[in-house]
């Protein structure tokens, strides 16, 4: 049995409205991701080139922390939403918890908690802007130093 033209038009109209709603929801739900990395910084002779993922940070790391060689121990990228909580590169010894407190058009306000051996070492609040990394000087490990890098992408 054929549908009437009016019924088909109504169905097409409703589908279009549904598609538009999906587009609006998708645009609203779109969120940036936070890229995090745990880096071991050491001084070696001769120095070794930085891993590909750290190329853009190597200059800043050398200047700030005074090391010439960097190893990427772990990295991941997770979507960050307001109120969301993310454990950054959890390890057996070092934990960094990031909780998104607020979000604006230009940055995220986050609360950071750094645990070393399950002991809270520092609590901090920071604003993270897209493409502007935050470096956190962590505990020493052997002859090197653990450094966290957080960047909104």
């Amino acid at each position: 049995m054929k549908e009437s033209g009016e019924a088909m038009t109504t169905r097409t109209f409703l589908r279009t409205i549904g598609l538009l709603a999906a587009v609006f929801l998708a645009a609203d739900a779109r969120a940036d991701s936070i890229w995090s990395a745990l880096v071991l910084a050491t001084n070696e002779q001769p120095s070794k080139p930085a891993p590909v993922d750290l190329k853009t940070f190597a200059g800043g790391l050398k200047t700030v922390f005074g090391y010439n060689t960097f190893y990427l121990l772990g990295a991941k990228q997770k979507q960050i939403l307001k109120g969301g909580e993310v454990w950054i590169v959890p390890t057996k010894k070092v934990f960094l918890k990031v909780r998104c407190l607020d979000r604006t058009e230009v940055d995220y306000k986050v609360q950071l908690e750094l645990y070393v051996r399950k002991k809270l070492v520092v609590t901090s609040e920071a604003k993270l802007a897209r493409g502007a990394p935050l470096y956190i000087r962590g505990p020493s490990w052997g002859r090197g130093r653990l450094i966290f890098i957080l960047e909104v992408r």
């Binding site: 409205i17 645009a27 010894k93 070492v121 520092v122 609590t123 897209r130 990394p133 935050l134 490990w141």
Partner: protein, 166 residues
């Protein structure tokens, strides 16, 4: 009761009977002049009947066809659209089109407007830092380049090299 004009017209046409005609003529101020007028009228009417004959139209069917076709074209042009200028369907689709446009603009175009110039002003910064042990110090300063930030924990602890951290 007929008025004078009606009785005069009937008198000219000879439509009055004897009694009416005599009665009407007795009311005329100048019967002789009226009779002359009547004679002139009969003469004029005769001339009109002789000369005003219908003229036969050459190719009348073709001309009628052309006229009907022109009427048909004009009629089709002037027929108004069903539902007038703003039928519900047209309004609905106009609304859908505008919503689509708004969705595209808000989802695709707006996020990129001004980003390149504003991004230069986007910086990360440490707003506050508290250490669990008062002996440990925590400092914050801008990273090289000015966009990034550094949270410097003076003594975050030591992990021996022989301990696995992962």
């Amino acid at each position: 009761m007929k008025n004078f004009e009606e009785r005069y017209t009937a008198w000219l046409d000879g439509a009055l009977d004897e009694r009416e005609r005599a009665e009407f003529e007795s009311t005329l101020p100048d019967r002789a002049e009226a009779l002359r007028d009547a004679a002139d009228w009969k003469k004029l009417r005769g001339l009109l009947r002789e000369n005003l004959v219908p003229v036969a139209m050459p190719h009348a069917d073709f001309l009628n066809g052309q006229v009907l076709a022109a009427i048909g074209r004009e009629t089709s042009k002037s027929v108004p659209l069903a539902g007038g200028w703003f039928p519900a369907g047209r309004l609905a689709w106009s609304g859908v089109f505008l919503l689509t446009l708004a969705a595209i603009v808000s989802a695709v175009i707006l996020p990129h407007i001004g980003r390149s110039s504003d991004e230069e002003q986007y910086i990360s910064q440490v707003l506050a830092a508290h250490t669990g042990d008062p002996k440990q110090g925590a400092y914050a300063f801008a990273a090289p380049g000015g966009k990034g930030a550094v949270l410097w924990i003076q003594d975050a602890g030591d992990i021996p090299a022989d301990e696995r951290i992962r």
